[in-house]
Amino acid sequence: MKIPPRVIPVLQLSDGFLVKTTKFGNPRYIGDPINAVKILNDKGVDELVLCDLDASAGRSSIDYELLADIASEAFMPVGYGGAVSSAAVARRIVELGIEKVIINSLVERDPVELEAIASTIGTQSVVASVDVSKGLMGRRSARIRGGSEQSRYDPVGFARLAVEHGAGEVLVHSIDRDGAMGGYDLESIEAIAKAVDVPVVALGGAASDSDFSAALAAGASAVAAGSRFVFHGRRKAVLITYPDQSTIRRL
């Protein structure tokens, strides 16, 4: 039996609540994270990603208690991103019952520590998020610190650096398309999928199943989305949905 592609909801946390951003800003309140996880459990979701926006931006420290609660509620593997800055932090997160950590700024700030994380919890548990933005000149750059700073590296360079230092998976996250539901940044997905050997996950802009198919065709091994799973309709009413298995198999 061929295993269907992974379709991964991404939940953003701020101050203990679920929110949804647009271009990494303007967080809109969605609801209670535990409740969302319970709903996703019932829908047979394969994998879940949690991003703590406050921790990422340095506004707060990691909410280990909330993570432990979410890990206990989730009937599927969970990945966490936000201020994962050391091997000790990574180990603590994994011991709470979270399967993967997602790192971003650390790739540039301290690649040696990234290696330490990978040897502590295993490369398969380390995901590097490449946050991509097209500048005014139309050229793509990688960004760090929750999108607030420009990286020295371009997206492909950033991805390669991360994988060289132990990331077992790369998340290609488009800042520009975040929350816009106007389709993925297929060019970045394709370029990075060609440049690294590890699985690539697409994120930022998905609106429909055809967006998922396009990302998979561009070289992504898995597709992730935020708005697509928490909003419904033109008015973006909050409603948690997830495609059924037969739809996922046909992607």
């Binding site: 295993i3 890990a71 011991e95 709470l96």
Partner: protein, 204 residues
């Protein structure tokens, strides 16, 4: 529904497992002492991490003999992930003896063979029944479970193989010897498939 005991010996997060059993309608009790084990009509031994560390933790909680006795009593005992590996005699991963309830040992996946095999196996995979069993009701084909492991069990008695999975090579992913059952994957992280399997186990 009966009371499911989950051995809580300081190894890993028992949260998801507790919640899944409750979700399935069972009463759950965390078992930290030999007395707690006696109250359980069915017992689950979870486990994540290193073999010797887990055996040492069981020893310090004075649970080794009580677990062996429980296994010999005929009451249902389920080992999950490292918990399954602890049921056997020993593991390549460590120096200490296992519980010895199922003859055999655990071995490490080798990074050899055609194409690099990434170790640990971390991801979804399927289980094929080695022989028919009520445990597979509703799961005979088209199942998948979440695996995270570097070691796999090798039973001395092939009759104890209950389920097989392929990762580079075929390996035993489920075992059963009388009342003692083991699962290499995490049913508590395998949502609907895990729920079905655990429901089947509870009605054994």
């Amino acid at each position: 529904m009966s009371t499911i005991g989950i051995v809580d010996y300081g190894v890993g997060n028992v949260g998801s497992l507790t919640n899944m059993f409750r979700h399935l309608g069972a009463e759950v009790q965390l078992c930290r002492t030999a007395e707690d084990l006696k109250d359980s009509e069915k017992l689950v031994l979870p486990g994540v991490g290193a073999f010797d560390h887990a055996m040492r933790q069981l020893a310090s909680h004075e649970l080794l003999e009580p677990l062996r006795d429980y296994g010999a009593s005929g009451a249902p005992l389920l080992g999950i992930c490292l918990g399954m590996q602890l049921l056997l005699d020993r593991s390549e991963e460590g120096d200490l003896d296992g519980l010895g309830l199922i003859p055999g040992e655990s071995k490490r996946f080798a990074n050899d063979g055609a194409g690099k095999l990434r170790v640990p196996q971390m991801g979804w995979n399927t289980v094929s029944p080695a022989h028919p069993s009520p445990l597979f009701s509703g799961l005979e084909s088209d199942n998948r479970f979440y695996f995270v492991h570097s070691y796999y069990v090798s039973c001395a008695d092939r009759e104890d193989d209950l389920g097989l999975t392929t990762y580079g090579r075929p390996f035993t992913s489920m075992v059963q010897r009388g009342n003692v059952v083991g699962m290499q994957f995490h049913p508590e992280k395998s949502h609907t498939f895990g729920m079905r399997l655990l429901t089947n186990w509870m009605t054994m």
